[in-house]
Symmetry: C2
């Protein structure tokens, strides 16, 4: 375990050198976890060639000893603020040019830190750890596979359990319980289960009315493994014969997704993949009804680098795992979104959620 | 409903005037919710005497119309960044001195915003909305009462359901299901259930080993209402006759909590309340084993203003709701924490979680 974290810290040190700072203050909670194995919050990692110390507090003293054997830690007292404890560590390490996570650290925190280390130059170094986290190693890919498998098994239970008396919220809870039964830590985000016209709300919260005789449910869900890796899927469950309109919209979305997935391989930019799906939806006169990006990386966080979106110039590389989730939303009628988790491989890609069927026929429930 | 939000926005405008800015950019998710009723994310509210507009994106268009009838909204397209859309709104409103939430907005976001509105002066205005949110109105107090009641009922089910075969994690899930059955949206944070020595870890994650014949469980849990208000409680469940050491530690913690709660009334500083509990624990030679603050406000967020902690000079006022949760943690042996939710009233205080018994006798289970 230690080796994995040391190797990741080594990568950060190499990236930091390019950023022309001698040490990086890692303040992002997930970044700290990825670099140390520590799973708590409110703790920063000071990382440079001469220093590697976790700045935390008394709540976490024992946990740090267990989760991060051998890692240096400063335990601040309740009356010492985090930035003050960090400043002390910066001074002790003799840091002259400190990089900080300017995309995560608040404006106030930077001001306070700067005031506390007047002899040290602070330089924005945004996204260094996230860029590295975007490329998953074999352990991480196995974790995400497990998260997809948990989501898939839970969904099968949900489909088998649905009744008209069930509410959207009840169905969401049913799904979560099933995933937990299979070993999931829980959901990777708040499950969306939306019947009929509610499915037009891209970030809907499940309601407390019975599903009744709705025509379809949009289910957007994911599982989290014990080690906090996440999956993120969307499927429709269609009751009875789908209307012509639903068929038409579904086909457009599925074709957009299929084309985008087909384009995924190392060397392609994220905006190019987004454009393929978007152009297809536009060509079917629904461009205005696809109001979000095509997808995002998943891992320890549910939204990670890279973003598949307009203006996202990140180049895909082997080891990245992204969602591909085009949608068409027609207010008052409903929405269709189809989402899979896709691993970028050396030769192209692998759809990790391949086993969760998505042709409209397989969405049918009687 | 509209009236409630308009009245809150009126309070912010008065507070903003004192901060010597003409308009405030509200970027905190919960702050936006509190001021508009909008429950989504990634959306900012520009609020001034001449302007009140929510800057959001296409995912939320219909939801905003439903949740915030009458509220102006700008829906940015996927290729327009949030700070760019905000800058356009700032220019259109002719804002000259813009306050921003410097305790929440990232360093990069401020830089990007500043570059996009060169004609406008940006001034840090941290915590304006949070200061107002610290004082709960009657509706909010009713919501928190409901959240406490849900937690209390769930805990009764858990106590009645415990078996040696159950794992900490299974018990946590049992508790959550029970609270949901009574109408909770879910837990207000990840439930902590820690047996014996694991209770020394203040932020422990429930494990997958059977509880077996442990001596006690520490349970730190809370419920969230449909409207997202939260409760936060901690109790011990003790199996069989408690050891002398457990009795002694429990008595110290309970006495520290009782003294601190007794001191709660309008006009008292938060650090004074913290000190009362801390001094008692110190006088019993366990000062070093109480490594966190005494408590925190609760509401829409699980951690809100005010903080009961050393150096927290906030003065208590009627309408604040705080947790009071002293603890003693002895690595290798275990920990004891007792936590209640306390409303500051004009005449003093009311323990909202009064009905959840906490004398050691009532913690016993055979």
């Amino acid at each position: 375990m230690t080796d994995r974290y040391e190797s990741r810290r080594g990568k950060v040190l190499r990236a930091v050198r390019k950023a022309d700072v001698d040490t990086l203050l890692v303040s992002g909670e997930t970044n700290v976890t990825w670099l140390t194995g520590f799973s708590g919050d409110s703790s920063w990692l000071l990382l440079g060639p001469e220093v590697c110390v976790l700045i935390s507090d008394g709540r976490y003293q024992t946990q740090i000893a267990e989760e991060c054997p051998g890692l240096d830690a400063v335990i601040r007292k309740p009356d010492v603020k985090l930035h003050t404890a960090a400043a002390t560590a910066v001074k002790q390490a003799g840091v002259r040019r400190l990089g900080f996570e300017s995309h995560l650290l608040t404006f106030d925190a930077v001001e306070q830190l700067a005031a506390a280390v007047p002899q040290c130059e602070l330089r924005p170094a945004p996204g260094r750890v996230e860029e590295l986290r975007a490329i998953k190693d074999a352990d991480e890919i196995a974790e995400i596979r497990a998260a997809v498998e948990l989501a898939s098994r839970g969904f099968n239970v949900l489909r088998a359990s649905l009744t008209p008396e069930m509410t959207e919220l009840g169905a969401a809870h049913e799904l979560e319980q099933a995933m937990r039964r299979f070993g999931a830590e829980g959901t990777s985000f708040e499950t969306i289960i939306a019947a009929d016209d509610r499915s037009a709300l891209a970030h809907y919260r499940p309601g407390r009315e019975p599903i009744g005789d709705c025509s379809w449910l949009l289910v957007d869900w994911g599982a989290e493994t014990r080690n906090r890796y996440k999956s993120d899927l969307t499927r429709l469950v269609v009751f009875g014969k789908p209307s012509k309109k639903l068929r038409r919209i579904y086909d457009i979305v599925l074709e957009a997704q299929t084309r985008a997935i087909r384009a995924i391989r190392p060397g392609v930019t994220c905006e190019a993949v987004d454009r393929i799906a978007r152009d297809h939806i536009k060509s079917c006169k629904h461009g205005r009804n696809f109001g979000h990006g095509l997808g995002h990386g998943i891992g320890l966080d549910i939204h990670e680098m890279p973003r598949l979106a307009p203006n996202s110039q990140t180049v895909l590389a082997a080891g990245m795992v992204v969602t591909v989730e085009p949608g068409i939303y027609l207010p008052g009628w409903g929405g269709v979104r189809i989402e899979d988790d896709v691993l970028v491989t050396r030769g192209g890609h692998e759809v990790l959620s391949q086993s969760v069927a998505k042709d409209l026929g397989s969405s049918l429930v009687d």
